[in-house]
Symmetry: C2
Subunit: 197 residues, 2 copies
């Protein structure tokens, strides 16, 4: 089954590229509600935030038309401590130094809402990927911060950018680290809603 | 230490994008010699072909100037059988059906040649990444072939394209599957030649 409309409840260019990559036609309606957190456990945080984003957008667009709404949130976790986006360059430096030479996890929570004129179903899941980072010198870190790449990214790095040269390997879904586990999303939507993205 | 010139002995747009991604300035000089194979073992094949490409280009550009030349070759291996580029759509269909619901390996061999007016050093290595593929229906495979994406790719798929939705996870370096393990390359060049790419 195909669906009339898919909405991405995010304006992240990386998530958009991933949906484009697998050939999904969608439109973007970002949520504008402030994030409300009731947990500090990475998997719970990303699932909760993805649900808030998708639910907010579901209310905005509600008109009885059949559609899927996809909300998503990504965090980097090191020893169960959540690393969000850096506040400033010093914060970015500290985060990258923490990740250097170590293994960390990237969690993305995804909520898919199916709605039509008579019903709404909400399905939430998360995906976790292990990332192995090479040893970086302080100069490497300063050079990387000077590229400007870390400042809008959870954990202060982008695996699909310059930082790729310091990622020695991963275990799990690469696209989950970029910001949206499209393979898992495709399967979940197929299984739960019998819809082929 | 920085180096005067880096040459990529390949015209693959995916390898070029990966070097661009990590900020390497280089020029492309593809090898034009026919490939000569003396092995059927995946890791030996990719190392041998990467060495042929880099050596051929090293001869073409030889003028005493200090430079690095990077040659690279990628194959997909399923149960130690090498899958190259598909001959036609039927061949692509058979390969994708073989990979469906299974785990396979992607091998990339890399040769880096350092040369200046008085010496030449050749360094070759390979990187292997495991790739987990979802179950595809025959219709999924036909739809994928209709995108045209499989025809120029080893193993008949591109992980960075539509096929991404069928890759449930990997173990190892994602960029190695795309065609060049830039993280390993960066480290090897630093360790063997004391050069920062």
């Amino acid at each position: 089954m195909k669906i009339d409309e898919v909405i991405l409840a995010s304006k992240s260019p990386r998530r958009r590229e991933l949906l484009d990559q697998i050939g999904v036609v969608y439109r973007c309606v970002p949520s504008e509600k402030p994030e409300v957190l009731t947990s500090t456990i990475p998997k719970d945080v990303v699932m909760e935030l993805s649900r808030q984003k998708a639910s907010d957008v579901a209310e905005i667009v509600e008109d009885g038309r059949e559609r899927l709404i996809i909300g998503s949130d990504t965090v980097v976790a090191f020893e169960d401590k959540i690393l969000g986006k850096p506040k400033d360059e010093q914060d970015a430096f500290d985060m990258i130094l923490m990740l250097s030479g170590k293994t960390h996890e990237v969690y993305t929570g995804v909520t898919v809402i199916y709605q039509n004129e008579s019903q709404q179903e909400i399905h939430t899941f998360y995906e976790c990927t292990k990332v192995f980072v090479d040893n970086l010198s302080e100069q490497n870190i300063r050079d990387y911060i000077a590229t400007g790449e870390p400042m809008d990214k959870a954990g202060s790095y982008g695996i699909q950018g310059y930082f790729g040269k310091y990622v020695t390997g991963i275990e799990g879904d690469y696209n989950n680290v970029v910001g949206l586990p499209v393979s898992r999303l495709y399967r979940e939507v197929k299984e739960k809603f019998s819809i082929e993205l």
